[in-house]
């Protein structure tokens, strides 16, 4: 009668080649899946100990990934492709293991500008009424915020390379710089918009989910060589992070997570400010006629975490649009090599999740442009405002 094997805490997955991994992250609401995985020790079931290593900049994440000091890291989605192409820095073959979250970023402008926009003045005119060149901050030249900011400005007839100064400063300093008049606006992750609104340093005018509904934001990335050398470790890490993302889909768990994030070793700001940007409540969009807001999405059953090659194509297209790289016929090969869809599918299946890519569909951006993942060069060159 004792033929049934005893229930084990460790299901029979292939043993990871490496059991201790150093994982880099930048403290943001977006780092929730990593922090949850660390606090809840989700890796244990998969034979992994995750050592979370907080990093002061995206450049540090890149350099430490390339030097091997970090095994994998949370990265800005576009930045992985920036490194793959060697834009402005070292070139290396990169791998995206999964998408860690979608949505959850915003653009906040000074109170003065927000007032003009609220009164119905077009952005171009409102910026023109400043007596100097407007200054907007973002987070990394090939990152996501640079692309969301550029897209938003250009859709309003403002040329991001000519009509404004685009600078990078550390996001925790953005609300204060806005209050001091050093910035006219910024695009970054949360909770920095919640902080700016709470301090009355500025007003959030648009959430990035309104620019591109369910856009990819942070990726779990590593060197491609790591994924090739340690396939079992790679899949164990994807399983761990998928479970962490799934755990975050529960509202009670979001509450728990926001309490952790509020602690000094992470964000060191009030828990209610953090919690306010983990759902859709309390975000006031001051621009009329914008599409509805979507919450930051860490997980869904429609493939939110899938490392979608078409998402990469969009970034390559925008790099081309802004003159950062030239169009080539190799883009499809590049995104297919970067996106580790086989590892992802294997890992998802192992824990009973859907392994298929999300159903292909055309996305309508807030300016009415349609992105369906096809003919990216034509798409990138179809914008009136570009480099």
């Amino acid at each position: 009668m004792n033929s049934t094997p005893p229930l084990s805490d460790s299901p029979a997955y292939p043993a990871p080649e490496r059991s201790h991994l150093r994982i880099g992250y930048v403290a943001l609401i977006d780092s929730a899946p990593l922090i949850a995985a660390g606090e809840m020790q989700f890796g244990r079931r998969h034979g992994l100990t995750l050592e979370l290593c907080r990093q002061p900049s995206w450049a540090a994440i890149r350099d430490k990934l390339l030097s091997g000091e970090l095994d994998a890291a949370q990265t800005l989605y576009g930045m992985v492709y920036g490194v793959q192409l060697g834009l402005g820095g070292p070139q290396a073959d990169m791998a995206i293991l999964m998408t860690l979250n979608r949505n959850g970023q915003a653009i906040t402008v000074s109170n003065q500008l927000a007032e003009k926009l609220r009164a119905g003045q077009p952005l171009q005119a409102a910026l023109g009424s400043l007596d100097r060149k407007p200054v907007f901050a973002q987070t990394f030249p090939t990152g996501t915020h640079a692309m969301w900011l550029n897209y938003w400005l250009a859709a309003h007839g403002v040329h991001p390379l000519a009509d404004i100064d685009s600078v990078v400063i550390p996001p925790p300093q953005m609300p204060e710089a806005l209050a001091q008049g050093e910035l006219d606006g910024f695009c970054a992750g949360e909770p920095w918009h919640a902080v700016a609104q709470n301090n009355q340093s500025g007003k959030t005018v648009i959430s990035t989910s309104q620019i591109w509904p369910d856009h990819p934001e942070k990726a779990l990335a590593c060197r491609r060589e790591f994924a090739a050398l340690y396939p079992n470790t790679t899949q164990a890490l994807i399983r761990t992070m998928l479970e962490s993302c799934q755990w975050l889909a529960d509202n009670d768990n979001k509450l728990t997570l926001s309490a952790w994030l509020a602690r000094p070793e992470y964000l060191n700001i009030a828990q209610d400010l953090i919690l306010s940007r983990m759902g859709t409540e309390n975000i006031e969009a001051t621009q009329p006629a914008t599409p509805p807001l979507l919450p930051v999405r860490f997980f869904d059953r429609r493939g939110a975490n899938y490392p979608l090659p078409a998402d990469g194509l969009w970034f390559l297209g925008q790099f081309h649009r802004w003159g950062l790289s030239r169009a080539t016929d190799q883009w499809h090969d590049i995104v297919n090599q970067v996106c580790q869809t086989e590892h992802y599918a294997a890992a998802a299946l192992q824990i009973g999740l859907d392994a298929a890519p999300p159903a292909a569909s055309a996305v309508r951006f807030f300016d009415g442009k349609i992105w369906d993942g096809s003919d990216v060069i034509h798409y990138a060159e179809s914008f009136a405002i570009r480099a």
Binding site: P56, S57, W58, A59, A60, D63, L66, S67, L87, G88, G89, P90, Q138, T139, F140, P141, T142, S166, V167, V168, I169, P170, P172, Q173, A177, E182, L324
Partner: protein, 191 residues
């Protein structure tokens, strides 16, 4: 003279590098401590080299400047194919990151990195490191003299002269400074 900008926005005593670099004949710009000041300093003072704590929150500001302004310094890991890789690894290990302008020969960066390393290495290794600096600086002088000879006698550009030294160095399996020494000795003999 190389213009060096130091970023002093972490616990690492970056400003202490100032005097050491001045003593070695570098033009050290006033250190900056904020990201906004950094953007202005890079655009207006056009440093050849920026030295920053690897853990500085201002790193991404430098990345933006590197990509958007062709004259701004770029991360030095770009030189990873060069012989100075060992030194760069050591610098990264010591938490020092360097950005340099395009076209700046790696052997001109090395002595500065060495000074930075010496500054931040533990007390017991300080003297040894400084000895390395001295020797590398004298190596650099030899290389500059040899390049000058090649440019003068062979009508080469500076880049061609350096490339010639480098090719000879690889062919003979000798340090570039050693090749430079041979060329100078030969020139003395022929004069």
């Amino acid at each position: 003279m190389l213009r060096v900008l130091l970023i002093n926005d972490t616990d690492k005593p970056m400003a202490e590098l100032c005097q050491a670099l001045v003593d070695h004949g570098y033009d050290v710009l006033p250190p900056v401590a904020t990201s906004r000041a950094l953007s202005e300093a890079v655009k207006q003072q056009k440093p050849d080299i920026v030295i920053v704590d690897t853990e500085s929150p201002s790193r991404d500001t430098l990345e933006q400047l590197a990509l958007m302004h062709s004259t701004a310094p770029r991360p030095v890991v770009m030189f990873s194919h060069d012989a100075d890789q060992h030194l760069i690894s050591a610098a990264v290990g010591a938490g020092v990151t360097t950005y340099v302008v395009d076209g700046l020969a790696p052997e001109r960066v090395a002595p500065i990195l060495t000074v930075a390393l010496a500054r931040f290495a533990e007390e017991s290794r300080l003297r040894q490191r400084l000895a390395v600096v001295e020797s590398e600086l004298s190596d650099r002088k030899l290389i500059d003299r040899a390049k000058g000879l090649l440019m003068d006698k062979r009508k080469m550009t500076e880049a061609e002269a350096y490339e010639t030294l480098r090719t000879q160095s690889m062919k003979q399996g000798l340090k570039i400074a050693e090749i430079a020494r041979q060329i100078i000795a030969m020139a003395d003999l022929l004069n």
